[in-house]
Symmetry: none
Subunit: 422 residues, 2 copies
């Protein structure tokens, strides 16, 4: 990353408890990325003047910009203003215009300004005041040579418009005219190390690129994500560097990449079903309806999802899906033949063009040495006949359920990729 | 807080983008709070060895304990091990036991260990190895005088059990004898402001308590949570202060609290079904299988969930659930009579003691002025007859789906509460 970089400090003791998390930093990151700034570090500190000042001091030494959210309220524990004044070695002065604005704000609701709100009119000498149309706390912008500190209020609805206004005024100059563009590739049902092994040879080629490219490999539940980032003088230039890099990766990961645009697997499968005019029905045992639920998370999915059967009990497998009882007796409920019969059964009863059958052991109980917990049979019933396979998934009950739906969705996706290649 | 304090460092460049946020720190905070440690600061740094080392160095100077999550994977950008070794000035050594464990893990899936996984067996000299039953990366615990560093893997399902095991071994000694105990009350299908209104009068009574009590009200998806915390010299003393406070709140929120132990609503309903010897079957339209999936997330749910039908199309409502076509023509698919017919139908076909029928408009399309997006009919078919009601849920497609399953689960819960009260 050759562009400028920023640190974000979230202030608030409540953000250090087990029940709250700072999310302002996501909005700040998005805004700063857009003007070409990367985030080098994020911090959360409590409502303690010394600790806030220490964090500001340290970050100002390391980053081109430090953004602080929170601690600008009227109460005793709002001490971000004091910390900033101390770090820059300047006094706090009462700003008559801010004071008047706060008074008017209270007056417009028929109230007198409580004396404690006077603190919100205190401004470190030399700071630029950023007006707050949605609350009493103004923002503050302090720039002294290469030390740049932006103080924003904590409530997101007050923080966001102020950040936008600040970026419009100072963004281009500080971002160095750079743009950061990101692409997200995703792969299902392959391990992180295998993705890394396949991708590794591609990286060397990128070193020749004039535009710096960086890649992060992330293991998300049931999938691996590759986040590619290019930093360039224009979004167009970044795209021009990313396009061939994405192509390289897609080829290196032959067939495993299901999206280069950050889509979910259910969105990709939904699009393929819609475009091909197919309809689908699901027969689920161990996944308990999760596959149907994921497919129906996609707006417009009623055009291709006819529905399904959650056949948790053997009786429902027999009654609602027409699975022969003898087949269950002979092979067991978790078996390839039963998965096929479930897929065929739901396809026939719903008159869908595609049927899916999933039966397995989600655990924690029910496993055996022949069929350990995580064993799942996945069948697809297509107009050309049925395909079926067994796979063992790892993790707890929820991970096994999710992993099995990922594998089934990826199998469906591959049907269409293969059809398109023929 | 008079006890010891900790810093938490989350490692991962992806956690510095606009699309990811560190949530591991919440679980770490909860665990450390329980052993009497407060969190003084949280940091997020990218996959950069120097920056990780600098953050560790700085935090070790200021905190009694530093917990680092992430960066223990097998790839080139996983450099937490190297950073820790550099900070303590010790070499990394290959640990034969870890290496063998990783090899076995791959072998159990019929795979050979990729060579890059060898990095996960590297251990800073003098570190204690924390075994990882759910993944390849072991955790590491380094204690040198007052400098204490705990390295945990990033995936929560690997991090959590390792953290628990560490706390069991070292927690009491490091926590300084204070205990922070928390209770989580949850309420479904009531707004945050109504919860606040009902709870407010209770707080005043607590001021007399010798043990400091604090409460945070949090709006989570589809539910409101009340987090009560007591800090005391012993867990027993904290419990003694919390018990009457919890009772006060449960009474003030008459009947709305579904758990005082932080359980999920599906876990509570599962327990009620199991204890009463009931069985359940689901007929879902707009929720698309989400209710079945949530109920089957609970281990042992096969004892009471028989299964269900996802009747997205009207044809499946008619064919698989026996909903009369005339009923759909007359009232529309989203109507109380159709919801009742679905609940009755799935109950009859599965021979369950309880049937649930849900039909509604998840959006974004399909709404009308009479039945706007979010309109959902929820029916319960019981041995004593059917109950049905309509409710309008807010939010996007996913929020409407989730909200409707929350409301249905809470309706089921109330059946049993009422039965128990009679």
């Amino acid at each position: 990353m050759t562009g400028a970089c920023a640190h974000i400090i979230a202030v608030g003791s409540e953000l250090l408890t087990a029940s709250r998390i700072d999310t302002n930093s996501l909005a700040v990151t998005e805004r700063l990325n857009a003007i070409g700034m990367a985030i080098a570090a994020k911090l959360v500190v409590g409502d303690d003047r010394k600790q806030i000042a220490a964090a500001m001091h340290d970050s100002l030494d390391h980053a081109d910009l430090v953004v602080v959210t929170g601690g600008l309220g009227p109460t005793d524990d709002d001490v971000t203003r004091e910390a900033a004044a101390a770090v820059f070695g300047v006094p706090l002065q009462e700003d008559a215009t801010i004071l008047e604005g706060i008074r008017r704000r209270f007056a417009s609701r028929g109230l007198e300004m409580p004396e404690i709100n006077r603190r919100q009119a205190m401004v470190p000498e030399g700071a630029e005041v950023l007006s707050n149309p949605r609350g009493t706390a103004p923002g503050l912008w302090i720039e002294e040579g290469l030390r740049r500190l932006l103080l924003l209020p904590g409530p997101p609805q007050e923080m966001q418009p102020m950040l936008d206004a600040w970026a419009a005024r100072h963004g281009e100059r500080l971002g160095g005219g750079m743009h950061i563009v990101r692409r997200v590739l995703k792969v299902a049902n392959v391990s992180e190390s295998h993705v890394e092994e396949m991708a590794q040879p591609v990286y060397a080629r990128w070193r020749e690129s004039g535009v710096p490219l960086s890649v992060t490999i992330l293991a998300a539940p049931g999938q691996i994500e590759l986040h590619l980032t290019a930093t360039a003088a224009s979004a167009k230039e970044a795209d021009a560097a990313l396009d061939p890099a994405v192509d390289d990766l897609v080829e290196a990961l032959h067939g495993h990449v299901f999206t280069t645009r950050g889509e979910t697997l259910e969105a990709v499968v939904g699009r393929l079903l819609l475009e091909s005019g197919s309809t689908i029905a699901l027969a689920e045992s161990c996944t308990g309806g999760l596959l149907a639920s994921r497919l129906t998370d996609i707006p417009g999915s009623s055009a291709y999802v006819l529905g399904g059967v959650v056949a948790y009990s053997n009786a429902l497998k027999i009654d609602l899906l027409g699975v022969p009882a003898a087949l269950i007796d002979e092979h067991g409920a978790v078996s390839e033949p039963v998965a096929v019969a479930m897929a065929d059964g739901v396809k026939a009863r719903s008159r869908a063009s595609l049927g899916v059958g999933i039966t397995g052991i989600a655990g924690p109980g029910g496993g055996s040495s022949a069929k350990p917990v995580g064993t799942v049979a996945i069948a697809l019933s297509t107009p050309e006949g049925a395909k079926v396979r067994m796979q063992i998934f790892r993790g707890d009950r929820h991970q096994i359920k999710f992993g099995a739906t990922q594998a089934a969705l990826d199998d469906i996706r591959r049907l269409f990729v293969r059809a398109a290649a023929q």
